[in-house]
Symmetry: C2
Subunit: 135 residues, 2 copies
């Protein structure tokens, strides 16, 4: 398989609007996309960093994984996403290598990309996302 | 200030040689640099991912921060590194913004780059490295 680049690094925060000024006004990043993903119970945004990005995620409900992450650990790294040219091929190769995939099929994530998640057990203790980028 | 790209994402592992085959044979990444950093009590290597990289770090002594990280949390994300065009400027701007820097001066890191670390408290709970890349 092939990893093209680090697509983004995603952090959980309590409140997007509270976290944002440090990254926009101080670090100088720009918001590229901001979406309320009601089905996932999160609000998320993408800050461009060259060809990669920083993603900030905040829970909008009290009882999902992101809300529990925040309650138990506080703000921190949620996942690292790598871009792949063909997500179906990458998922098949990882499954064959014994990696535990959390999605059986690619699904549509933030920004309209095809995405799939890999269990932290199968990637050095870190939740890992594969992204086949949408043009 | 300006962040040029995500320079690398670094994971702590127990043993570089045990962790490596998954990333080289299965994920298809190549080792670019491998160094024993005796002063830091770690061995580290860089796997290229497009213009970015994955870094693997393993402790070579029992009593440093990396060894304690591993003992308390197991393998996991150690830090995220962002490239900057001028590390001295970036450090000054972050300090002015109230960020807590762990290095007062840039130091030479893996691959000969100038690097400085930012406390997790000042970057969404994640240890963060600034890198001014060495040509």
């Amino acid at each position: 398989m092939e990893l093209t680049c680090i697509h983004h690094v995603a952090y959980v925060v309590e409140d997007l609007d509270a976290a944002l000024p440090f990254f926009t006004d101080r670090v100088g990043l720009e918001v590229k996309v901001r979406e309320n993903l009601a089905n996932d119970g999160v609000e998320a945004l993408i800050l461009g960093v060259g060809a990669s990005a920083v993603e900030l995620i905040a829970p909008t409900v009290a009882d999902n994984g992101v809300a529990r992450f925040l309650a138990s650990r506080g703000p921190g790294l949620h996942h690292v996403a790598f871009e792949v040219p063909d997500i179906v091929v990458a998922m098949a190769e990882l499954a064959e290598a014994g990696a535990e995939l959390l999605d059986e099929q690619p699904r549509i994530g933030l920004g309209g990309h095809k995405v799939a998640f890999i269990h932290p057990r199968s990637w050095l203790g870190v939740l890992t996302e594969l992204v086949e980028a949408h043009e």
